[in-house]
Amino acid sequence: MAIVRDATVPELTAAGAFQEAPSRPLGRTLRRYAPIGIGVVMALAMVVIAAGAPLIAPLSPSAQFADAVLKGPGAVERHALGTDEFGRDLLSRIIWGARVSLQVGLASVIFGFGLGVPLGILAGVQGGRIETCIMRGADMLMAFPTLLLALIIVTALGGTLPNEILAIGVALTPNFVRLARGLALTIREQDYIVAARALGSGQLRVMARHVFPNALYALVVVATLYIATAIRTEATLSFLGFGIPPPTPSWGNILSEGRQYIKCCMWITTFSGLAIMLAVLAFNLVGDALRDLLDPRLRGE
């Protein structure tokens, strides 16, 4: 006699060991994991497209076809999304643009994480003057909006890929510092830290082996969300003209170039903007879903 399990009442399975595996209603599972599934698929797709751009793009992003200037999507057989004012294939440019956006997005977050988290944990665990020093510095940087700070740095250093990564990375660092310090403050009160210290672990060991792994969950969630922010910031910088200079395609500068043609040929701005939105959406979905999964208390958000 098979007992139909209600997935939310596990106590009913008192004699559980011999029963069949619970049959979760498929609808509920789908609904619960759909967002992260969609997000992960989208994000992975973006990464694959970016990495495989030379193989995936149908045409070269800088090849100019004089016979197909400003043609709409599908108007010419080989240009699925249309062409721009120089006759360059829009689809290929957008695919190559994914490289810039994703490289900057991922690398700048890794930079900010790598720089900010150790500083934050140091501040949280050590306390005292080191903490004050680090936090004052972080607060001063945080008085600047992320975009503005990145803008200043990129203008100072010049618009190249590594500089963009550095600029956005530095702009994100204080956020990581703040977060890591907050987490460290909570974690250091835990019993296992006291135990570790009692067993003679030095500060460094405590920070690396105990504080950091326990802070990792929350840090990863935030880092994913910041990837979305970084991609958006990079697109904004490129749009304003401070990012990678043309002719290298980046979603922001494709959009910016297309802006002059919105009267006749809106597909340029539409598709590049859509690409930006999908990339940002993908990482937001993944970050949100991670947060829901890893910290049920926050699920309400």
């Binding site: 008085a143 909006p145 100072a156 979305a228 958006r232 749009f239 304003l240 903007g273 940002v280």
Partner: protein
Amino acid sequence: MVQYVLRRLVVAVPMLLGAMSIVFFAMRVLPGDPCVAMMGDQATTEALADCTKHLGLNRPLAVQYVDYLWRSVQFDFGSSLRQGYPVSEYIARMFPHTLVLVMASAIVAALVGIPIGIVSALKRRNPLIDYPLRIFALLGLSMPVFWLGILLLIAFSLRLNLFPLIGGGDLDGVIHMIRTGEVFSNPADFLAAVGDVLHHLALPALALGFTLAATVSRLSRSAMLEVISQDYIRTARAKGRDEWAVVYKHALRNMMVPLLTIIGLFVAIALTGTVVTETVFTRPGLGKMLVDAIGARDYPLAQGGITVFTVIIITVNLVVDMLYAVVDPRVTYK
């Protein structure tokens, strides 16, 4: 309470100084000599030397730094390198446009975002309502402001011809009329000018407001959720109070503190948003001025602009901190 206020002030001042110092050194680090930029590379060495001396750029860095700080405190940011007019005047002229944009987007964001956030929190068990709202929030969060702005322009300005493509409207006229009291002597003209300003404001405010509404709705949702799970809500419900009263009298009032945080964050995000929005819609304003100035290495203008931005953000956060203390006295005990 006074102690709390003083403590916050004491913290704010070095932050302000620090931010201004960062601005100063960042500008000096920028490659490109403003004198060369202004006079072209055919200029003679004497002309360049004159220009440098005139701009005070040949003084030792420390002297320039102190001078900069001292003058900034008096709101004297020098004169624009490109066009020569005093920076503070230019900022004062651009400021109302940005202010109006931020206020209008704030209204849009609040009107759209807060109810959505609250409804989303209250109806979270009902996937039919919760899901579309959450999708709205995610889309708004992910959509770049400049893209939404361009889409709005295409739809409402180009295709439907309902709104103007560029410009900020006759805001100077409005201000002038308010100042000279013409508001009363010539109400028709005043209303026409206000109408013009609003007409130019509609699309940019919508674009910026919608994007901000997404963030606001998420923050309201979590604020509401936090409040709803509190015991006093359960008590009120147990007492048989009708749902409306529970929401209004208890939940909303207690949401005030997190809502203040929202306002504080909002200003920073909105100001950054104006940078892009003003560029897309070709509106006059601080954001566009700043971006142009940085790009053109116009030191005084860029410095003045960034300083004003950061001062506004730090001040708003300070005020929000003060309001926390007013709304929730427990904060002062920390």
